[in-house]
Assembly symmetry: C2
């Protein structure tokens, strides 16, 4: 294990990271690594300590090596005894909430104990402490009324929902949008953000035994209508839809499913509508009759929050975050359903690694329905 630190007393190794040195099945390649306290931050960098970091489905794809975003090789651990250059170390995790513990020269806007989140993709958030460039993080605008869970999950799903509702077509109060995968974390954010703007949502979900509960849940978040994919094939749907919408045409569709459900959903869109895809849970391609493009002038786009962060100015990022934080603290955008995976400082690397692997296996088996948030305890 060449990336293990040179022998030190365990009590000196106050930090922990969940790392991998090659892509593959997370249950094989992920391990826990302990490392000592960070040196003081260089100029224009800060040291931060993670409070809570989600294990998002895309994070697993990154570990597997099947996601377009690649992590950069870990360098901040080098100083703490990382192994040879032939054995790179990557820290898992893309999203997370941290607090500022030390500030380098030339960092203007931050102070100790500020909450920060990541705007650089694949920052490696599954660790206790790390050193980051000040330009790769953004300060959480205010904390009053904001939970750690809110803050730790605010940089991927909520802005995906918010930006998709804003960037593709101009919607006004009373307008309808349609989405599938409505029970996903993004789907739930769409429902709530749309409701906060006075937009009506037509939501499609998979049928299931406890469908009535799910419908109730989503309606309690503000969903206007919740239907199953089965109902998409129902001839009466168009008639009912016209009654609901007063024949107002639907100009935005959001898709994280693909396949036939999406082909059918696209037919509900009106002339000049935009279909925006941000996922492909069915693993089926997006297949649409060409006539929808030619004669109805539907445009099909993709949305990827990672690209959004790459293309937007710090001010744009901060402005969206302020809007989202405001929705959160006013109760309009609730915490995602979640559970905390807690790993105590005294647990061995073997125990810690096993906990992570078990959690990821549970997630991969699907139907989990809750976001898993990692809280790594560090020795103070």
């Amino acid at each position: 294990m060449p990336f293990l630190p040179t022998p030190r007393l365990l009590s000196q190794l106050t930090n922990r990271a969940i790392i991998y040195s090659q892509n593959g099945d997370p249950s094989k390649v992920l391990t826990s690594l302990r490392y000592p306290e960070l040196p003081p931050p260089a100029s224009e960098t800060v040291n931060i300590k993670f409070l809570l970091a989600p294990i998002n489905p895309a994070d697993i794809n990154v570990v597997e090596g099947v996601y377009p975003s690649k992590p950069t090789e870990e360098t901040s651990l080098t100083t703490s005894g990382k192994g040879s250059p032939e054995q790179p170390v990557f820290v898992g995790g893309n999203e997370g909430l941290a607090r500022v513990t030390a500030i380098g020269n030339g960092v203007g806007d931050l102070k100790l104990d500020d909450w920060v989140v990541m705007t650089k993709p694949q920052s490696g958030t599954w660790c206790t402490s790390r050193n980051v460039h000040a330009s790769d993080i953004i300060k959480v605008p205010w904390r009053h009324g904001l939970s750690q869970v809110h803050a730790a999950t605010m940089t991927v799903n909520p802005p995906t929902a918010y930006n998709m509702l804003r960037d593709f077509t101009s919607l006004k109060e009373g307008d309808w949008i349609v989405q599938n995968g409505a029970n996903s974390a993004v789907g739930q954010a769409v429902i709530q953000i749309a409701a906060s703007k006075g937009l009506k949502t037509l939501n499609f979900v998979r049928n299931r035994d406890n469908i009535r509960n799910l419908v109730d849940d989503l309606q309690s978040l503000g969903a206007t209508k919740v239907l199953t994919y089965d109902e998409l094939s129902d001839k009466s749907l168009r008639t009912r839809l016209k009654e609901w919408t007063g024949e107002r045409s639907i100009s935005l569709g959001l898709n994280c499913v693909g396949g036939n459900e999406t082909s059918l959903m696209a037919r509900l869109l009106g002339n000049d509508a935009h279909l925006v895809s941000y996922g492909a849970m069915s693993k089926q391609p997006l297949s649409l009759p060409t006539s929808l493009f030619i004669f109805k002038n539907i445009t099909s786009h993709g949305f990827w929050q990672t690209r959004w962060y790459q293309n937007r100015s710090p001010k744009e990022k901060y402005d969206v975050m302020k809007i989202l934080v405001d929705l959160m603290v006013t109760g309009k955008l609730k915490e995602p359903r979640h559970e905390i995976l807690y790993i105590a400082a005294h647990e061995s690397d073997t125990e810690a690694g096993q906990k992570i692997k078990d959690a990821i296996r549970n997630m991969s088996e699907g139907q989990h329905g809750k976001k898993v948030l990692l809280r790594l305890e560090s020795l103070e």
Copy 2:
């Protein structure tokens, strides 16, 4: 046959139209109708006499009733003895070249013998004379060097090609575009217009016995590369493509085929590229991996020249026509391959109807490869 004119001497029935009174198989529903000279034009209208009108594939779909554009019920024939209101009459044809034969009050820009073409969809061009609103036609900017075939075919295919090359992404000299159905009338216009702008074209066509001849033909029009769909599955294509393009990414794809050929072609597009569909010759849907939308930020659009005419100002229409006429008279945009279907004034309605039906049957059997242009002789 309630739409027959009240009995007159055949010699008084100087005009002829190819009409239908209900949708259906063109070989069943199309008939020839003769009608007398038009009365003088009302104000803001002109009388025109058609010189040449294409039978486009979409015209057949309109007769069948399976095209989104519907013709308006014929009124200008009413004055010449059309039948009862229960039996509407529609004149076939969407595109055509006519000359001005009489001008009503309040028509500013036209004079006798001007050449005009239609900007109103489904104007009913398969006739000798008709009365039209001055706002539904546009004057051909100049005639010197322009053939009747050029002018009769300039309002659908060439502007489709021109606008698709202009409206979706900004292309500069040396940039590459990719298209399928490259041997279609639009595809050939794309090759020529692209070449006139210094753009490189990667063209896909169906394989066939005489493929070498087709490749030569398209290259003589200015095609940079001509390949068959079979080569899309060839692993070496990407390597060859990189050599050809110098790794410059392709930011525009034009599709009139759909199906798997288009899925494969879309993979050749670069980040942020636009795929524009204007046809679906394979009758298969457009099926793309969602990852192309999300991670490569491909946008999929449709283009329909009919909508373009509906949404654009007269000046925009005229400006595009001027550019196209200039390309035509300078030899950069050639006449489409064509044949003339001539129907003489002395031929009976039965004979005329049969000629039309035969021509459409030939077209439907496909592989025709030539545009059929209808020239209806009228008694002077």
